[in-house]
């Protein structure tokens, strides 16, 4: 297991670095690769002096304060959503569960929007206010969705999807209504419904980082339990797992990670769905591999999705959620089809 993790993980990290180099070159302002490299090296302590300033201040700002923080933030948001998706799928034993389809993203965005609309961004808990409120509303949404979907102690796939869709459109309508009424400076409505990473500096990454790191580690630590869940809850219980408590903590932590991501990026759909399934195809169903590799895969996926979002139409931004939906919705349809036929082991997930 360790060797396989090392292999896939190493490849993932390498791809991530290569992608960083490639995506750093893409932007509305043309910058030669050599100059970007020099600008980055100049910032490093020790060897910085070997790279004298041959660029103007604006170019350094573009690389260091516009492009790089945005790419890093995309990677963090992607990792957060993908890890949360893998965890939701693990404990709910539902292949179509992800922060978006469960309505958790919409719930979190409502909380974040409320905080911003009422100008409470840093009230009470400072910079933690926003993600924590998003967490509370996200968790409430999840609770409602699960309660709606539960049928005689089970969570059927279709019930869960329906409940998620209903909550999504309801919460989305509230966000839209709020932003229509608001007289405070908030980001445009498109941000909350379709997501965007435009105009986001380093501070956003710093806010998100601890959630991704600590939350991700916690979920990874519970990967063994997720493997047991795959056998069915009763069987997992017989093997000595406290299923209810594990399920609850994993769901809450996954929701917290989602909420943190949503509060900096808006609602970006399908990342938590596509990525874990891709990883499953490559590395198999073992959650001890699936969780960390999903983080890497999510980072890669969103890095590129955001690069497309900011470059595909020249200077015109495409909402990030549009790109992920273009990729994700057909994928979702495919998974739904497969689960209907009960192929590939997913059928048994209906619980």
């Amino acid at each position: 297991m360790i060797r396989r993790l090392g292999g896939y993980g190493g490849a993932g990290v390498l791809l991530l670095l290569l992608s960083l180099i490639f995506t750093l070159r893409i932007g509305s302002v043309e910058l030669p690769a050599g100059r970007i490299f020099s600008i980055l090296m100049h910032e490093l302590p020790g060897i910085g002096k070997w790279f004298p300033r041959i660029w103007d201040a604006g170019e350094a700002q573009i690389v260091l304060k516009v492009r790089l923080p945005r790419i890093v933030l995309a990677a963090l948001v992607g990792a957060a959503l993908a890890v949360a998706g893998a965890a939701f799928q693990g404990v709910l034993r539902n292949p179509l569960a992800d922060p978006f389809t469960l309505g958790v993203s919409s719930g979190s965005s409502l909380g974040a929007a409320l905080i911003i609309f009422f100008g409470l961004r840093t009230a009470l808990l400072g910079q933690w206010t926003l993600p924590l409120t998003a967490f509370v509303t996200g968790a409430l949404t999840l609770a409602i969705v699960l309660a709606l979907a539960r049928d005689r102690g089970k969570l059927p796939i279709y019930g869960l999807l329906l409940a998620g869709v209903v909550m999504q459109s309801f919460l989305g309508a509230i966000v839209t209504f709020l932003s229509a009424l608001s007289d405070r400076p908030v980001n445009e409505i498109l941000f909350w419904t379709m997501g965007s990473l435009n105009l986001r500096g380093w501070s956003y990454s710093l806010v998100l980082l601890p959630y991704v790191l600590i939350g991700g580690m916690f979920l990874w630590a519970n990967a063994g339990a997720m493997n047991l869940f795959a056998l069915g809850e009763r069987r997992a219980g017989q093997l000595g797992l406290n299923t209810e408590r594990t399920k609850m903590t994993v769901l809450l932590v996954a929701t917290l990670v989602t909420a943190a991501a949503v509060s900096v990026s808006g609602v970006i759909g399908f990342v938590g769905l596509i990525v874990p399934h891709m990883i499953r195809l490559i590395a198999g169903p073992d959650y001890r591999l699936l969780v960390p590799l999903s983080a890497l895969g999510g980072a890669l996926f969103l890095m590129w999705a955001d690069t497309l979002a900011r470059s595909l139409l020249g200077g015109t931004e495409i909402p990030l959620g549009v790109i992920t939906a273009f990729a994700g919705a057909p994928f979702f349809a495919l998974l739904l089809q497969r689960s209907k036929r009960g192929k590939g082991g997913y059928g048994s997930w209906t619980g």
Binding site: A57, Q61, K65, S179, S182, D183, P185, N198, L199, R200
Partner: protein, 367 residues
């Protein structure tokens, strides 16, 4: 809710912040740019709600210089415009409209007027401002929900905003309905289907705006009043043009515009024309219409001045953006608020907008 929207537009003014461009568009009477339509496609469902709610979001403005005719002024103007005395002959020659008058509007439809319209409905702030400037206070029997200038416009019956109140319009039995670009051609056709006479204006340039005001004067038989208005506008423009011409090529400033949070304006919009008429360069000149802020492009353009919407943009959000501290305008604190309604409504106050923009970019350059 309804009365709130009608009576106090200020309460909802901040709506613009939540919503990229609708208000600006409603203000200006311009149709959404392609980039925005893309966004709208995504949000068709929510857009309707948004737009209805955002209708009232037009700010108030207290401009003093506009030729705002009071009732008494109107009456004297009708008899003999004292100011135009030096050009008496030309004025006399152009002062009387001969009916029936047939004109082609922006939809390419010929509209015939048998007499000066006695009952007028105006469905955009710009058109309403023009009608009031021509002293047609008494003839106006309906305005759009957004119309807030001059003050007298606020007490006129409301005919709806982006979603028109067709019943109210029909019930007002107007001789003519004036619409701007914000009313799309399909809506114009459906109004015509009700037997209403509709005339649409869709100016693209400052010059078009002046021509349209003259056309208003012709339709309503207020040619002298129209000439007063257009003469003043031309004088304003000439003043700015002369001052702009005296600015050295090397001293020309680059200007970044933000008239909705996170959105800037490129070619094809009045605000862009005001910048170039002021002898300055729009930092977003490579783009067309409205587009989301491209931070890289703005940093590279390194604008000397930033002009932002008084109503909807908080300059702090601009200054605090990552990497923007190195921009000359931010470094030297050259950020100025501009009255949205002056620069976005293609009406009689557009030339005042031009002067305001010029003064912000080149202070003290105007004599």
């Amino acid at each position: 809710m309804k009365t709130g929207l009608e009576e106090n537009s200020n309460e909802f003014a901040g709506q613009e912040k939540a919503d990229p461009m609708q208000n600006e568009r409603l203000n200006s009477g311009k149709r959404p740019a392609p980039a925005y339509r893309f966004g709208q496609m995504l949000l068709t469902g929510t857009a309707a709600l948004l737009l209805t709610l955002s209708l009232a979001a037009c700010g108030q403005s207290q401009s003093v210089a506009a030729p705002e005719p009071t009732e008494t002024e109107t009456q004297t103007a009708e008899q003999a415009p004292a100011e135009a005395a030096d050009t008496t002959e030309a004025v006399e020659a152009a002062s009387q409209t001969v009916y029936p008058l047939t004109l082609t509007d922006a939809t390419g439809t010929e509209v015939t007027f048998d007499a000066a319209p006695a009952k007028i409905v105006s469905l955009a702030p710009s058109e309403t401002e023009t009608l009031f400037a021509l002293g047609l206070d008494e003839q106006i029997v309906g305005v759009s929900d957004n119309d807030d200038y001059p003050d007298a416009a606020k007490s006129k019956p409301k005919m709806g905003g982006f979603e028109l109140n067709t019943e109210a319009i029909a019930a007002a039995q107007p001789d003519i309905v004036f619409v701007a670009d914000v009313t799309d051609d399909a809506t114009v056709e459906s109004l015509r289907g009700l037997g209403l006479s509709v005339f649409k204006f869709n100016p693209d340039t400052l010059e078009d705006v002046i021509d349209d005001i003259a056309t208003y004067g012709e339709i309503t038989d207020r040619q002298e009043e129209a000439k007063d208005v257009t003469d003043k506008m031309r004088a304003d423009m000439e003043k700015v043009r002369t001052a702009a011409a005296s600015i050295d090529e090397a001293d020309r400033k680059t200007v970044y515009l933000e008239f909705s949070p996170g959105w800037t304006v490129g070619k094809g919009e009045f605000m862009d024309e005001l910048i170039s008429a002021s002898g300055a360069i729009n930092a977003a000149e490579a783009t067309t219409g409205w587009s989301e802020v491209d931070a890289e492009a703005v940093i590279q353009a390194d604008p000397d001045v930033i002009l932002y919407s008084q109503l909807s943009v908080d300059p702090k959000t601009i200054k605090d953006r990552s990497g923007w501290a190195a921009i000359a305008a931010v470094e030297n604190d050259q950020l100025f608020a501009i009255d949205d309604n002056l620069v976005s409504r293609p009406g009689p106050r557009l030339s005042e907008g031009l002067i305001e923009v010029f003064n912000a970019i080149y202070p003290d350059a105007l004599q």
